[in-house]
């Protein structure tokens, strides 16, 4: 997978940096009084010299722990924040200029932030968005029909927003954000707080939306299931710096320090602690975690020393790998 060049990119980021100046003081009355006279400021590098390009139609998972710089980056890409340094273009626009044409071509969905009027049916707010984004009535009707089907909205658009459940509201919110069919979507935790069914529904919808309209999607999520289902490429950010930019399989290969050995065993108790860390044990089965470089040796020993019916070697779950990446805190 070769990275897109600047001229063909939907999103181009080069040397992007954001430094916040935040007040800092010790607790206590004396420090409070002192801060009245001399305010001590501290610089926080939320995003530190990052660069990447996203090709049109790509779906990228933007991963990192809380405070890594994900939301700050999304805000700079959508024009809500001025970068301290660096270059950003989205569809050829400089986001911080907040040109109308740019705002018509993007959307940013941020968690539970509400853009719908609370006390009236969402359908009324949709009509308002039709006027705001100057959507042709025919296209508007088609888009709403498609969304209602894909997101299984049913008659939700006729209920006052305040009467919708969290999952229903999020689906309607996403629908409202996409009525103008933006070619670029920035999604900040779109499935946060939703139950498993609602998460799956939104994931399927985003995949379908991407297929249908060829839109570019940059998605942050704490749920690896979102990332695995939607993104071939992931960008991992930590302390404002990019730790990894590549495909999901590569991330596992590069950062996982262990392999998982799944065993089917003949009946009877066997002590497996000498072969690796036993993470799961059941009747006739066991799962071991072994350091990557010792996998072959451990496998050979298991096959020769105990009665194994079946043995498979797997990569550990992606969540675990990501945790390891953040724990390592190392540069690429």
């Amino acid at each position: 997978m070769s990275p897109p060049s600047e001229s063909t990119s939907a999103v181009h980021v080069d040397g992007l940096t954001k430094v916040y100046r935040v007040p800092e003081r010790e607790p206590g009355l004396r420090a409070a009084l002192r801060s009245l006279v001399r305010r001590k400021m501290k610089e926080v590098r939320a995003v530190d010299d990052i660069r990447f390009d996203i090709a049109p139609g790509e779906v990228i998972g933007f991963l990192g722990p809380n405070g890594a710089g994900k939301t700050t980056t999304l805000k700079m890409l959508s024009g809500l924040l001025y970068p301290t340094a660096g270059v950003v273009t989205v569809l050829g626009h400089v986001p911080s200029r907040r040109e109308r044409e740019f705002l018509r071509r993007i959307t940013l969905v941020m968690g539970q932030r509400n853009q719908l009027a609370w006390d009236i049916p969402a359908g009324d707010s949709f009509e308002l968005n039709r006027v705001i984004y100057e959507i042709e009535p025919g296209q508007f009707r088609d888009t709403v029909a498609v969304m209602v089907e894909l997101l299984e909205l049913g008659d939700l658009l006729r209920k006052p927003v305040r009467n919708l459940s969290l999952g229903e509201r999020m689906k309607v919110e996403i629908c409202a954000s996409l009525l103008h069919r933006p070619p670029v979507l920035f999604l900040d935790e779109p499935t946060l707080g939703l139950d498993v069914t609602a998460q799956r529904r939104i994931r399927e919808f985003l995949a379908e939306y991407n297929q249908r309209y060829g839109s570019t999607i940059l998605l942050t999520s704490h749920y690896m299931a979102d990332v695995q289902a939607l993104c071939r490429r992931v960008i991992v950010i930590h302390h404002g710096k990019i730790l990894y930019d590549g495909d999901l399989a590569g991330l596992v290969a590069r950062f996982s320090t262990h392999k998982k050995i799944v065993l089917k065993l003949e009946a009877g108790e066997v002590d497996l602690t000498a072969y690796g860390e036993v993470v799961e044990r059941g009747p006739g089965m066991a799962v071991l975690l072994v350091p990557k470089q010792e996998t072959s040796r451990a496998t050979a020993r298991l096959l020769s020393e105990i009665n194994v019916i079946d043995l498979t070697v797997e990569d550990p779950p992606i969540e675990q790998v990501i945790e390891e990446v953040f724990a390592q805190k190392a540069g690429p």
Partner: protein
């Protein structure tokens, strides 16, 4: 321009529908607001009667007319509140508005204007009751009624633009209340709110005419009551336009700085 008007129509429809959900609350709030003009009306009518029936050209009956129209002008010139801006910034509710290809000022203006239509449902009948109770002496002239409409609209926009510009200071300090208390205090005396401007001493009237407050409130009010000649009315419109243009420039300058500030610190 056409798209902006279409936006106003659509936003007002949504805001109107939204406000209708709270019509009982709006009616109660409005009723609460009638206390203030009734107090002024009773006080000034008493003063007029004890001063030989007239104060600065106002009798008890014309005072009644003044303070009944006062309720309409007061409600129609209610403008953007600093407290809303403070809350919006503190809760990070500004970002969704900034992501729309429409200026947030239009969003707030359309919402305010829609709210006024809802308020008229309770305002007009209540004014009718006040007319029956206080029997005002008002001789409405056609040209004054016609001129009142744009004067009232300008009064609203004038107040809205200035208050909005001031509320933008919330981007620097999330406590803008002190600034507004100062605004309201000066406005209280120099806009025609506590009493008609002609009741002020000459120097006070000069101050009032050289500041924007009277053009937001007292001018449309007294215009409807027929207290101005056509020439004075035209001069009043010129003052309104001048202050509106000045307010517009201040708004643009403050907005640019405010949005830069917001973008620097995050939403």
């Amino acid at each position: 321009m056409r798209s902006t008007l279409a936006y106003y129509a659509a936003q007002m429809r949504v805001a109107f529908a939204d406000s209708m959900q709270y019509r009982a609350a709006i009616a109660l709030q409005l009723l609460g607001k009638f206390g203030e003009p009734i107090v002024y009306l009773v006080v000034w009518s008493t003063v007029a009667r004890q001063s030989g029936g007239e104060v600065a050209g106002f009798t008890a009956d014309t005072f009644a007319g003044y303070f009944i129209v006062w309720t309409l002008v007061r409600q129609m010139t209610v403008a953007w509140s600093p407290y809303w801006m403070e809350t919006r910034i503190r809760k990070g509710e500004y970002s969704p508005l900034l992501l729309r290809p429409v200026h947030p000022f239009h969003f707030d203006t359309a919402n305010l204007m829609a709210g006024k239509w809802v308020e008229l449902f309770t305002l007009v009948p209540t004014m009718a009751v006040l007319v029956l109770v206080f029997r005002p002496s008002v001789q409405l002239q056609v040209w004054c009624v016609l001129a009142f409409v744009p004067a009232l609209l300008m009064g609203f926009f004038l107040r809205h633009v200035w208050m909005y510009s001031m509320s933008l200071t919330a981007f620097w300090t999330t406590r803008v209340t002190a600034l507004f208390q100062m605004f309201f205090t000066v406005e209280f005396f120099l806009s025609g709110r506590i009493a008609p401007i002609s009741l002020l001493p000459e120097w006070g009237q000069q101050w009032a005419r050289s500041l924007p407050f009277v053009w937001m409130f007292g001018f449309p009010l007294e215009l409807l009551l027929g207290r101005f000649s056509p020439a004075e009315a035209l001069a009043g419109f010129a003052h309104q336009l001048g202050w509106l243009a000045f307010g517009g420039i201040v708004f643009v300058v403050v907005w640019r700085a405010a949005i830069r500030r917001y973008s620097a610190v995050g939403g």
